[in-house]
Symmetry: C2
Subunit: 242 residues, 2 copies
């Protein structure tokens, strides 16, 4: 089997580019690192090509390329490259179904990771991200969620348009603010719902807040000015998961 | 006013040592960096000495030392040292009161920071840390909580002993597991309570679980194997905050 050893090889150059969002968007492909994520991508039907360090065996019958350890290090964003990587196809956007979480311009990959993990935990089916939200195929998000995002229908869409579609489908649109609105504990059972979280610093924009049927907050001691957005989103999703 | 400029000065050497838990434990002192934390420590009555970069003014009438910018960089754990730092006395341990959160061997400063922030938000008064839990005066914890820990009564104590004391005071002891026990949503109002969270990897020890009156879990989709301990603790505290 041929082993790729040159950083100048066009195939390797193409793979390297997938570290950047621009190229992931252009090709619809992304990289995963490590056995667990590769296996999760395979089970989700997203694994396109297996990348193995030479002399490594991994029992998946799928298109495979073999690379030297220096190529692996070149392609990896981890401190210590792992001998198994994969090229995957992004999950196809499906029609909106089930309960929905919408994110307006969340910037931090760790926060998106926390929200994805809790969304799977608390039975959210569809995640709608504003175009300026951090890429769910960013390697830090993938690592934080360990493939849980493969279980969600993730759409990237203008939120105003998405809300109009959701309203036609009789969704209740629930906005969030740090204070004001209705205490989440007082909210009656709502199905189906679309819960919206805003940007880490600025919160939700007024333009989106105006379109909401309800605005909720988490009641807390005023000495704690706000919670991390991932923590707040998790509390709200848990409360809404009836 | 005298300006400290030498790294070899014994006063500066003493301050530098406070970056280590061993010396914080031995002296009962800790360092804070930046105006906000210094002010919060001052308001809590914990600020002992103000450390200012020469030619910086900060309007607190308290013992002050002036240092060169290289000394400031030497004492700082931030990428960019700030011109205001402080030496503080650890908050005195008070008698247990109000609702209690107990942590068994939490290792990650970020997780402890999240838990402290949510504890203040959801009306926990006392935090009891097992001796192997990360130091709440660790600079990462201080930075994550921005002084919110000055609002909590934090004790460091053997958890078994603490539980015996709490039982005498008629506290309900609530343990946590990822599965098994009672769904937190089914738990009736309990006052006063002591909620226990376990270590990130291992969870709670059997020895402590045995002493609990109730064991609760957060109901979730099994595809999400577990939540981050800071997120889980926040959800539970919010649910118990009636």
């Amino acid at each position: 089997m041929m082993v790729y050893t040159s950083l100048e090889n066009s195939k390797i150059k193409e793979l390297k580019k997938l570290q950047k969002k621009k190229y992931r968007d252009a090709t619809g492909l992304f990289l995963v690192e490590g056995e667990h994520l590769v296996l999760e991508a395979y089970k989700a039907g997203l694994l396109k090509t297996l990348i193995l360090e030479e002399n490594t065996f991994y029992p998946l019958s799928i298109d495979t390329i073999s690379v030297s350890s220096s190529i692996l290090t070149h392609l990896s964003l981890l401190e210590h490259a792992q001998p198994v990587m994969g090229v995957c196809r992004k999950k196809k956007e499906e029609e909106i179904q089930g309960n929905v979480m919408m994110l307006e311009d969340i910037q931090d990959p760790g926060n998106l990771g926390t929200i994805i993990r809790s969304a799977v935990a608390f039975h959210i089916d569809t995640l709608i991200l504003s175009p300026s939200t951090v890429d769910p195929y960013n390697e830090k998000v993938l690592r934080a969620t360990q493939g849980l995002n493969f279980h969600l229908n993730i759409l990237q869409q203008d939120l105003k348009e998405a809300i109009l579609t959701l309203k036609e489908k009789k969704y209740q649109i629930i906005g969030t603010r740090v204070t004001h609105g209705k205490n989440i504990k007082q909210l009656k059972e709502i199905q189906p719902f679309a819960l919206i979280m805003g940007n880490e610093g600025k919160g939700m924009s007024d333009a989106i807040l105006e379109l909401c049927d309800e605005v909720v907050y988490i009641d807390m001691d005023p000495r704690c000015e706000s919670l991390n957005v991932g923590v707040a989103a998790s509390i709200l999703m848990h409360d809404l998961d009836k």
